[in-house]
Symmetry: C2
Subunit: 144 residues, 2 copies
């Protein structure tokens, strides 16, 4: 069955990418199902780790916490989120997700659109004020 | 703070709608956050209940199971889904979600686009073959 005919995604046909801030389990992407508008990835962030500060020039995003505790930044605002909490990130707004707890953080990242023209992600972790913030918050959670 | 400035959605600011197949907890919608492309709703389906057969003429959807067991139909195909499993529903494809277990089924419905021109949902539960299927499957789960 070709990917465009696949409707169900389970542990045996999800696509796993190993990244520095934990495995990404892709559940909806154009190479897995007939996705046109939606991307879905489940991320497992080990204790003390974080996604770098980044932005998506063409994609809107929701972060939905499944297990653990996140310190979620959206622009200059941050909030501690637990299971069932979520954050909405408008297009091109800088954001980052830290594991702020003492267990693996599991969250869903939901993005739209699925098919875009330019790069999906711009790393801004080396630009100020993100660079200083990143250092500060990384040191805070390294103690965990 | 206006809804368009709200970035975080938790139990105290989600919007709950009571529907025949269980409460809908809206986590991302244009009246809650600055959503343009994404809708997110957590649905709690009691034992023996189901969403009616329906389709979304302008929206693509993902169903993601958080707890319990679903019999998920996409067009003529069905599958039993448990926690962490998902289904992708292309635009305008008929689908339905039954609680096939003996505990409350909790799933996330993720939809895009958020802003559309026409009706968000067309109920097709009174059209064949959905009408017969609906009767058959409803009777199957009523025994739970």
């Amino acid at each position: 069955m070709s990917s465009t005919e696949t409707r169900y995604v389970m542990s045996d046909n999800m696509v796993v990418e190993e990244l520095p801030w934990g495995p990404h389990e892709w559940l909806c992407r154009p190479d897995i199902v007939a996705a046109d508008k939606l991307l879905l990835v489940r991320v497992r962030v080990p204790v003390g780790k974080a996604h770098e500060f980044h932005r998506h020039p063409e994609m809107e995003e929701i972060i939905y916490i499944e297990a653990g505790t996140a310190e979620q930044w959206v622009d200059r605002e941050k909030r501690l989120l637990g299971p069932g909490d979520s954050a909405h990130i408008p297009i091109d707004v800088v954001h980052v997700t830290y594991n702020a707890g003492d267990t693996t953080l599991i969250f869903l990242a939901i993005l739209s659109l699925a098919e875009i023209e330019g790069p999906p992600l711009i790393d801004v972790s080396q630009e100020e004020p993100c660079k200083s913030l990143q250092r500060e918050v990384t040191e805070k959670f390294r103690g965990n």
